[in-house]
């Protein structure tokens, strides 16, 4: 199976043109396989969270925390859902024709792409200057948490670090989305002058054929990668034990008990005074 497609340039050189759409099916299959495998595993796993007694004790000791704790402010939620809408539009317009459902997709695709790029640029500014920028990133400091999480997944009763604002899986997923999202967006922006948008003058020759090939292949690889990533994201969003996170992306807050049950207060300090919903320290 050829993973990449090649074509002849007018000068007779072989240049990259696209990724093989077999990779789309591979990514789709991998996403579904992960979903099935994880769901099966979760049926039998001893996935551990703080015990009710432990959480009761914590809740009794933290009565001065507000009943509702803001997890995502309105701006962050709007960004998330705009990004989700544009991402779904992009994936459906890109891959439904590959799957045999033919329609005029290009205009929808580039328009959704521009919305995504605008949303990403906004998010970079917003997260850099108005949110706790480092709370979403992973680094060496997270290795103990990774170890503890893995052991808990395999049924061990492991004390140790709970996550800060974002669970480790959340942060790893964000990293994957940053890489694929930026790759697909940057290459998509480069492609805009190749098509008729009315926004910029068409100039399909501003990059060399070989550079275009790399651009299209990068766009394709990131695109098919996003198929699997989005399947995984939707899967976790609808899992019963993760629903509280999904709900917080809708309403903006989590309960005090959820906060104490799933987070390490020392890693995600929340202001203990003021009216509900409370704003965590360092948050806009």
């Amino acid at each position: 199976m050829d993973l990449l497609r090649w074509g002849r340039s007018p000068w007779g050189e072989w240049v990259l043109t696209h990724v093989s759409w077999s990779l789309f099916w591979a990514s789709l299959f991998a996403g579904v396989l992960f979903f099935v495998a994880h769901a099966s595993y979760m049926l039998f796993s001893a996935h551990r969270k703080r015990s009710p007694a432990e959480t009761d004790a914590l809740e009794a000791a933290n009565k001065n925390l507000p009943a509702q704790i803001e997890r995502h402010n309105l701006t962050a939620r709007l960004f998330h859902w705009v990004m989700a809408a544009s991402m779904f539009t992009l994936l459906f317009t890109a891959f439904l024709p590959v799957a045999g459902i033919k329609f005029a997709w290009v205009q929808w695709h580039w328009m959704a792409g521009l919305v995504l790029v605008a949303a990403i640029l906004f998010h970079i500014v917003h997260a850099t200057f108005f949110l706790d920028f480092w709370s979403i990133w992973v680094g060496p400091k997270d290795i103990p948490e990774l170890r503890a999480e893995l052991l808990r997944e395999f049924g061990h009763d492991v004390p140790g670090p709970k996550p800060g604002k974002y669970p480790l899986g959340n942060r790893l997923y964000h990293l994957a989305i940053v890489v694929t999202g930026l790759a697909v967006s940057a290459t998509g922006v480069l492609m805009i002058p190749r098509i008729r948008t009315g926004l910029v003058a068409r100039n399909p020759y501003y990059l060399a054929d070989s550079t275009w090939g790399i651009t299209y292949v990068t766009h394709g690889l990131a695109g098919v990668g996003l198929v699997g990533l989005v399947i995984a994201h939707v899967y976790f969003a609808v899992r019963p034990e993760k629903w509280w996170i999904t709900k917080s992306m809708l309403v903006g807050w989590i309960t005090r008990r959820q906060y104490l049950e799933h987070h390490e207060p020392s890693r995600w300090p929340v202001a203990r005074t003021g009216s509900s919903p409370a704003k965590p320290a360092g948050q806009a």
Binding site: R5, G7, R8, S9, P10, V15, T17, H18, P97, K102, F103, A104, W105, V106, Q107, R194, I195, R196, R202, N203, P204, Y205, D209, W212, G213, Y216
Partner: protein, 338 residues
């Protein structure tokens, strides 16, 4: 810029004698198979070695694909019926003269003797970048060489370009849309009937195909209903060489008068987009109006609204405007060569 090698690649030749057998072959070989009708489009591809199918399914021996039958006041034309047979058929000449005119303007007598109506409506585009073997969008690449600042694109699209700017080169296609024809398609899942208007697809929908035929399907017949029989027809084709050539622009209209005014009307232009372009807005505008110079002129202006020209095909705008006006005015078309 095709490099003519004249020696076709090796392939396995099948000559089935029934549609069912042909469909079985297509089903068995899928995208590796090439359907050969009259061969006029196919031979270019094969001799240039730009298409190298493993299997060629020649439809010449399938009798059920040939001939013209009268059905409910209309006609059913087998896909392998030659253009000459279409031109000479008495009912075509009497009731559907626009198809006779369009078919008669295809290429040369020799080509019409060999070329089939199924092949004429299903032929590939003539864009020379594409046919020259360059890896353009239509050939599976990521660029349209005809839509670049230095491209030679005199024959290319002024409407509905979506990355690719190739046009549909068929003469009979606009006539069939004007006649409200239907395309009968058979495949492994049985028979389906598609309105002629929906038979061709643009690059926005599928950039590598010109029509809705799947690799495992065959166009078996074209049905022309009695709807527009005996209407006032007009067909005109403008081409570089009057001896034989593909259209720069052609126009087909079928009008049923209502009193002294235009009644039901179907107006179609081809070679301006990747599909025959039915001008529904113009049809709605002229319906009920007198068939005179004022109506024709306004219709011509309306027809070219939204046209987007390339570097060398700006002339197509006034050409199309005038052809539409002439079709509505109903004046005599330029004399034919045969």
């Amino acid at each position: 810029m095709a490099v003519i090698r004249d020696v076709m690649p090796v392939f396995e030749l099948y000559q089935p004698t029934s549609v069912d057998d042909a469909l079985k072959l297509l089903d068995r070989h899928g995208a590796d198979a090439w359907v050969l009708g009259g061969g006029l489009d196919s031979m270019d591809w094969l001799k240039d070695r730009l298409r190298k199918p493993k299997v060629v399914v020649d439809l010449t021996n399938i009798a059920e694909l040939r001939g013209i039958k009268e059905v409910n006041g209309g006609l059913e034309i087998g896909a392998m019926t030659t253009l000459t047979e279409v031109v000479k058929h008495p009912v075509v000449r009497e009731k559907f003269a626009i198809l006779m005119e369009a078919a008669e303007l295809v290429a040369s007598p020799q080509i019409r003797n060999q070329g089939t109506i199924g092949g004429n409506v299903s032929q590939d585009t003539r864009c020379w970048y594409y046919r020259g073997g360059w890896t353009c969008y239509r050939a599976g690449g990521n660029i349209c060489y005809a839509d670049t600042p230095t491209a030679v694109n005199r024959e290319h699209a002024i409407f509905d370009a979506d990355r690719c700017v190739a046009v549909n080169p068929s003469d009979t296609a606009p006539a069939l849309v004007a006649l409200d024809a239907q395309m009968v398609i058979r495949g492994p899942k049985g028979e389906r009937v598609v309105n002629a208007e929906d038979y061709w697809i643009g690059p926005g929908v599928d950039i590598t195909r010109m029509n809705v035929l799947a690799p495992t399907e065959l166009l078996v017949a074209i049905r022309i209903p009695a709807t527009m029989a005996g209407a006032q027809f007009y067909f005109e084709k403008v081409r570089d060489r009057q001896v034989w050539d593909f259209p720069l622009v052609n126009v087909a209209s079928a009008i049923k008068p209502n009193g002294g005014n235009i009644g039901e009307v179907r107006l179609v232009v081809n070679a301006v987009a990747a599909t025959p372009k039915r001008l529904k807005n113009v049809e709605a505008f002229v319906a009920g109006k007198p068939r005179n110079d004022d109506t024709a002129k306004a219709a011509g202006e309306m027809a070219v609204q939204g046209a987007q020209t390339l570097r060398h095909n700006g002339y197509k705008v006034p050409l199309m405007r005038n052809l539409v006006a002439r079709a509505l005015r109903g004046q005599t078309a330029a004399p034919r060569t045969t």
